[in-house]
């Protein structure tokens, strides 16, 4: 099991290669889409690099959950419902969802995906 520093260093290297950003830009708090400029297709690239770097398989939807924000059951009036939050907690046990749960606007969802979230996901995955 690698240390947190080792995980962060590899995640940073994956993001630098996939997004063409500088090392210094990849801070734990940086958001992928907001601060690092990632677009949807970059997530595929990032997943390829994480899989290779950590020698793990990342099934579709495991790191970046799909079909929640497009499901009427989980979204009402531009906000994720209590059921949606529960579903997110179930699918993303590695993420800190408390901040988002307090103000669950759909447009804030992307901010959940910080460099730290990816590191937590990898640590969660490697500990299994």
């Amino acid at each position: 099991m690698p240390t947190q520093e080792e995980i962060f260093a590899k995640v940073r290297s994956a993001l630098v290669d996939a997004l063409g950003v500088d090392d210094e830009e990849v801070t734990p708090e940086a958001t992928l889409t907001g601060d690092l400029g990632a677009e949807s297709i970059d997530f595929l690239d990032i997943i390829f690099r994480l899989e290779k770097s950590f020698d793990v398989k990342i099934p579709r939807g495991e790191l970046f959950p799909e079909n929640i924000l497009t499901d009427a059951q989980y979204v009402q009036d531009g906000k994720v419902t209590a059921a949606g939050i529960a579903e997110l907690r179930r699918r993303m046990p590695f993420a800190d969802l408390d901040g988002f749960a307090a103000n669950p606007k759909v447009q804030e969802f992307g901010k959940l995906f910080t460099v730290k979230t990816i590191c937590s996901y990898i640590a969660h995955k490697l500990s299994k």
Binding site: D17, A18, I41, L44, F48
Partner: protein, 194 residues
Amino acid sequence: MRWIWIDRFVEFNSRQSARAIKNVSLAEDHLHDHFPGYPVMPNSLITEGLAQTGGLLVGEASNFDEKVILAKIPKAVYHFPAVPGDTLLYTAKIEQLTDTGAMVSATSHVLGRQYPGDTSPSPERLQAEMEIVFAYLRDDQRGRTLFEPKNFVFTMKLLGVFDVGRAADGSKLKEPPGLANLKSTASEGTIGGG
């Protein structure tokens, strides 16, 4: 017309790697404008050729059930220009293959130039190298699908893949059955990657 930027496959190892040849010729109109008096093979078209080499490799890996599209080129380096008379050897290697797409590494080499009487031809030189990300397009819910990947089987035949191809188990790569049935629907199209 078909948008094909490779001439022939010389090696095809299913799910692993492929090599294709592209001959650069002054008979290609575009070289006369790129640039007037100084013809150079555009690197964008070399990129397209590498994407076609890798795209067909990735398409064949799913037996053309998936629609393979070029999603992203995270990195590309061009070392020197290719010129008329050059033979380019394109190599594509599958680094990762998943249920959502593939990561391919690709290189272009200019083969050594040899002239009559030459006893020591110049060595082959690395002309370009890149990473290419292919994604599977899932557009089944749309009213009309963007393209039919099975049509690429014809392009594969045209480019000699079945002459040199090897399946994953090392046996000779077979043409998919039902090629004739597809023929009528494949009058138009481009090839994967572009």
